[in-house]
Symmetry: C2
Subunit: 120 residues, 2 copies
C-alpha cells in the first residue's frame, strides 16, 4: 500500500490549512491509479504534525510513503527541518519505505506559472 | 513603464533568497514583451523588503507595478501582511498604479504539479 503525504508549513489561519487539505483531496482524485491514499501534515501551527502524519499513514497500512514538501523555496524548513523530522519518523517505522521528494518550487514551470499570475 | 515585482517570504538561508532572485531573472527572460523589468522583494529576513522593492521600481521609472506573491497558501502573510505593506507603499507613491495579484498557490494546476513531484 502506497501513501502520498503532502507536507505544508501550517498557518495560524485555519482557512490556509483547509486549502492544503482540499489540495490533498484534489490530488487524491487524480492519483487514484498511483496512490492508495493522499493526506497532508504540517511542519508547525496545524495538525497533524509530520511524525503524526507519517504514523497515521503507517497505521492505515502503508508499506511505502512518498512525501512531497509543498514549499516554494529551499529555506531551512526544506533543507533541515523536514528531512530531520522525516528521518526521525522513519526510524520509528523501519518496515515502511519512505521517499522524501523535492519541494515543488524547484519545478521548471515556476517562471511561466508566476508570469500567468501577473494577469490573474 | 510597467514593472513586475515578485514578493517571497525570505529566508535566513541565503541560497533560498538566491533562488527567488534567479526566478525573477527567468521570468524577465520570458516576459520581455510584457514587463519592462522584473525584480523581487522579501517579506522578512532578506533584502530588499517590500517598501524598498516598490520604491526601487518607482525610482527606476515605473508608472505601474504588478505584484505577485510567491506564496502557496493564503496564510496571514498573504491575507494581512503583504496587503498592509503594499497599501502603505502605495500611499508613498500615489502616481504609480499598483496591482496586487493572487498568490500562486491558488493556481488550478497545483494538484497536477504536486503529483508530478511525487515522482521526481
Amino acid at each position: 500500500m502506497h501513501s502520498l503525504l503532502i507536507i505544508a508549513h501550517g498557518s495560524s489561519r485555519e482557512a490556509s490549512n483547509s486549502e492544503v487539505r482540499d489540495l490533498a483531496k484534489k490530488v487524491a482524485a487524480i492519483a487514484v491509479n498511483q496512490f492508495d491514499n493522499v493526506s497532508s501534515a504540517f511542519l508547525e501551527l496545524a495538525e497533524p504534525d509530520i511524525p503524526t502524519g507519517i504514523h497515521l499513514c503507517a497505521e492505515a497500512g502503508a508499506t511505502e510513503i512518498t512525501i512531497v514538501p509543498y514549499f516554494l523555496s529551499a529555506g531551512r524548513h526544506v533543507v533541515e527541518d523536514i528531512p530531520r523530522e522525516v528521518d526521525a519518523a522513519a526510524i520509528q517505522h523501519p518496515s515502511v519505505k519512505i521517499n522524501l521528494q523535492s519541494h515543488i518550487g524547484s519545478g521548471v514551470e515556476m517562471p511561466a506559472l508566476l508570469l500567468r499570475f501577473a494577469y490573474e
